[in-house]
């Protein structure tokens, strides 16, 4: 999952320090793998270089943690692009999709569209695998079926999440 995009999405809700960014990230998306500080500042300096964030203020003192970062217009556009694009259907996509949905809700973007876009992409791939299965031998069928069952599981998650979007919005913006 892209830490950089996630940072940008979080920064779109308001400027903050690297430390706060890490804490919010760990809380919302980190599961049991908190970010290392090195990762946090490497990511931020990359975003600075690309012009997606800028330093809004520097407080007196030492060390990188005194900088306050703000998202730029280019950064906002970049998050928007990411959220509106379907992910390549793949195993273990859930954390990326979950992150996208939460960020869309936090930034007041149409979260349902994130899910719909992904759903269409998943189904497109499922149709393709089904066609391949129909033309193939038993080995092809079994390989395609394995992928199809996993994609179906993702799709069911997408459907359930779509049905619970309002509840999720209330919970995360509370």
């Amino acid at each position: 999952m892209s830490i950089a995009k996630t940072f940008l999405g979080l920064l779109e809700t308001g400027p903050c320090h690297g430390y706060d960014l890490k804490r919010t990230y760990d809380e919302r998306f980190g599961q049991d793998r908190p970010l290392a500080y090195g990762q946090v500042y490497a990511t931020l300096s990359r975003l600075l270089k690309h012009g997606f964030v800028e330093v809004e203020g520097i407080e007196p003192g030492e060390g990188p943690e005194r900088k306050r970062y703000a998202i730029t217009d280019a950064g906002v556009a970049d998050v928007g692009r990411w959220l509106s694009q379907a992910e390549k259907p793949d195993l273990y996509l859930q954390s990326t999709l979950y992150t996208k949905v939460v960020l869309a809700l936090l930034t007041d973007r149409p979260a349902a569209e994130v899910l719909d876009t992904q759903r269409a992409e998943h189904l497109r791939l499922m149709r393709e695998l089904t066609r391949r299965k129909l033309d193939g031998d038993l080995a092809d069928q079994l390989i395609c079926d394995h992928a199809l069952f996993h994609l179906e599981a993702d799709l069911r998650w997408l459907e359930l999440t779509a049905a619970r979007l309002e509840a999720l919005r209330m919970e995360i913006t509370a």
Partner: protein, 250 residues
């Protein structure tokens, strides 16, 4: 999983491989526009539209109660919408006299439901022959034709049994045979695999889609299962009685 990921870019292949598609001639056989239908206070359809090309398999998905079956029934002329129009090959369904609409349903449309659609008193071959008999065919001809279809659906061995004495999977194959025996232009299938296990469901879908392609029949397939919908060329989602076409995303 690289083999799966590798197929990512072949977009545009998402639609139809039916005969109409191959010839690159797409003709609309059935078109519903802005359908509304209420049952008492319940708005089952609230602006649903759907267009079906010849030979195309369209999946209609959506959560329970979203209006999928009602849409299918309106498309097939079984239920009259409160407003909106359904046009079949240039003819307005709602403007047709009842007798004409029934004849259309018998000759041009085929139906497959989740279960309970075969006449229990008739043998399977008689069930499959029934639409032909109602259309005026002689018994011998109708049953001969019915046997061809039972064979094609891999259930020739149940021809002489009544529906109560065969399995659910066999029953669905008999139902597919019955839906296709008249050479319909459109087959309406409402959760045709809903009562079957994965393996039987897959086989029924394969046989249905293959038979539809061979005869250039369009299929309107209501399902909530993505793996079943994946047999289609295109997907339409119904939400709160409204349709949303997600099919042409590629």
């Amino acid at each position: 999983m690289s083999s799966v990921a590798g197929t990512q870019q072949s977009a545009g292949a998402g639609r139809g491989s039916g005969a109409a598609q191959a010839a690159n001639l797409q003709t609309t056989v059935l078109e519903a526009t802005d359908l509304h239908k209420a049952f008492g206070p319940t708005a089952a359809l609230a602006g649903a539209s759907l267009s079906v090309d010849a030979g195309e398999v369209v999946a209609v998905m959506g959560s329970s109660g979203s209006g999928k079956s009602t849409l299918l029934h309106c498309l097939a002329g079984i239920v009259q919408p409160d407003s909106g129009r359904v046009v079949y090959q240039g003819q307005l369904l709602s403007g047709m006299p009842d007798a004409e609409r029934s004849a259309l349903r018998r000759g041009d449309f085929g139906f497959i439901f989740q279960f309970g659609q075969l006449v229990p008193e008739l043998s399977c071959v008689e069930n499959v022959a029934l639409p032909l008999r109602l259309g005026g065919s002689k018994r011998r001809d109708a049953e001969k034709q019915a046997m061809v279809w039972l064979d094609r659906l891999e259930v020739a061995e149940v021809a002489g049994k009544t529906p109560g004495r065969i399995s659910g999977g066999q029953g669905q194959r008999v139902a597919v045979a019955r839906a296709l025996v008249t050479g319909p232009r459109v087959v309406f299938a409402d959760e045709p695999t809903g009562a079957l296990d994965s393996l039987n469901g897959e086989r029924v879908m394969q046989l249905l889609v293959q038979a539809a392609r061979d005869t250039d029949a369009a299929v309107v397939l209501v399902t909530h299962e993505a793996r079943v919908a994946a047999y289609s060329d295109r997907e339409v989602v119904v939400r709160d009685g409204r349709t949303r076409d997600l099919g042409d995303s590629a």
